[in-house]
Amino acid sequence: MLCDQCLKNQATVHMTTFVNGQVKTVHLCSQCAARKKGSVVIPWFSFNDFLSAFYDEDEGADVVCEGCGTTLASFKKEGRLGCAQCYKTFESSITPILKSIHMNTRHTGKHPGERVSVEPGKEAEASEAEQHKEQLKKELLHAVSVENYEEAARLRDEITLLEKEGS
């Protein structure tokens, strides 16, 4: 995101100001933020502040990506990678971030050019199946409450089956 004021640098300061009772959020670079005075300023955390929690302080800060010239220090600061090769260059720094955001480090989705088959009709079916399952759960509770355990066991098996199909 670019700075609202100079429209040149990356905005690193996100602040909410109260001026004449109006709440306003502005995104500024550090230079423009330093120049801004007079209003009550609450600095917000940017997403990058959270990411930085996963880095080792200054370790390998001078590693440079051959593909685009991005340094590890600038990636840590801006939270953006410069090119495809950066993922290899900074692999050891990126892996912990991926684990914490996605709980995973391996793509299981499609490859370029592949078609994902999702049938629009399935959407209505899926929500109908969900409703059907809810109905069965209500019936199950009822069956248990009237001590009809034979019926309850049948309903439980049907729900388990539906849950398996749905996943």
Binding site: R80, G82, C83, I101, H102, H107, P120
Partner: protein, 335 residues
């Protein structure tokens, strides 16, 4: 004017619209934050242009050729992001009703997006996936067998897929249930936020729910999970609506009819007031209290009376003139 918000969309008493976004980059060109060679920038624009402009439904624009007003209207219509509007090398490929588009040189080289009315995750995904296949047939994407589609920010890597639903949750919001839902949804890798304005309390109870996790799950899993969560939220909302109605029927009816009264006769109306009143009336439609408008009609008029969209259509630049034009458009709907 927004036309893709069609009538009788699935679950339209709660779901306003569906949005699908895919983040994609070219293999051999630095990502937008690091791109500097004019040839590289041209390549990013031209490859998408050459590939997609074969289809007559699309048109291409350089962001630098658009006026500030054009850009603001596109932002309000959710066709482009405010980041793209500020980007001097940005471009846009968009179809006639703006339901399918590609943002060029935003955070990633390409952001493919599609919109659908109501709950239409699969249908909308299929449209965007077709666009993705068209591009993949001619360009080489930045892709890694282990990490999937490589993106500028590690939060999008893998599928690059962000699926979101705009939900109208007046009852849950009146019952102060949003923070609870929000924390539950957070636990399953998804997020809820106000649909208008960043993180602020949504005016008119419109919220966006979307997936956060993009890596280690398939596209279909992302869609199915969002669908299951959304189905739950839809049920909660519907039950709470009934609950509220049976507990405070007369007060609720009064609020809804007052909203109609104001919409029918007001001569000036701000965007925030319109959102609030339209939200009240849409609530009334879902309870069967109001029957001469549909929820789709209401969502459409709400989107089409946003400030820059009115300014863009009518050339009215002063806020009070727009407020008058907005009041008139609303009166026509409710007369």
């Amino acid at each position: 004017m927004l036309t893709w918000l069609s009538n009788n969309a699935p679950e339209c008493d709660v779901v306003v619209s569906t949005r699908i976004r895919l983040a994609r980059n070219l293999a051999d060109v630095p990502f937008p934050a690091r791109i500097s060679q004019p040839d590289d920038i041209e390549k990013v624009h031209n490859q998408a242009k050459q590939c997609l402009m074969k289809s007559p439904e699309f048109s291409y624009q350089r962001l630098s050729s658009l006026s500030e007003l054009d850009k603001r209207a596109l932002i309000e219509g959710h066709v482009i992001s405010s980041d793209l509007a500020r980007c001097k090398n940005g471009g846009l490929i968009v179809n006639g009703d703006q339901s399918l588009s590609v943002m060029i040189m935003e955070e990633d080289h390409y952001r493919l997006q599609g919109f659908g009315a109501g709950l239409s995750l699969f249908k909308t995904y299929n449209l965007v996936d077709r666009l993705d296949q068209m591009l993949a047939g001619e360009v080489e994407y930045a892709f890694d067998d282990n990490l999937g589609f490589l993106t500028s920010c590690p939060t999008n890597v893998g599928t690059g897929l962000r699926a979101s639903l705009m939900l109208h949750l007046p009852a849950l919001s009146a019952a102060k249930g949003i923070p609870r839902i929000s924390s539950m949804i957070g636990k399953v890798g998804m997020t809820v936020r106000g649909a208008f304005g960043e993180g602020s309390a949504a005016s008119g109870a419109f919220y966006q729910i979307s997936n956060q996790v993009t890596l280690g799950v398939t596209e279909k899993e992302i869609l199915m999970r969002l669908l299951s969560i959304a189905s739950k939220v839809i049920d909660f909302e519907r039950n709470t609506r009934q609950e509220l109605y049976s507990n405070m029927g007369p007060a609720l009816e009064d609020k809804i009819w007052r909203a109609i009264g104001v919409l029918k006769y007001a001569r000036r109306m701000t965007d925030a007031e319109a959102q609030k009143l339209i939200s009240d009336v849409a609530f009334g439609v879902s309870l069967g209290i109001v029957s001469d408008v549909t929820s789709s009609q209401l969502y459409r008029i709400m989107m089409n009376t946003r400030p820059a969209i009115i300014a863009h259509e009518s050339g009215l630049l002063q806020a009070q003139d727009r407020d008058a034009a907005r009041a008139e458009m609303l009166r026509q709907v409710f007369s």
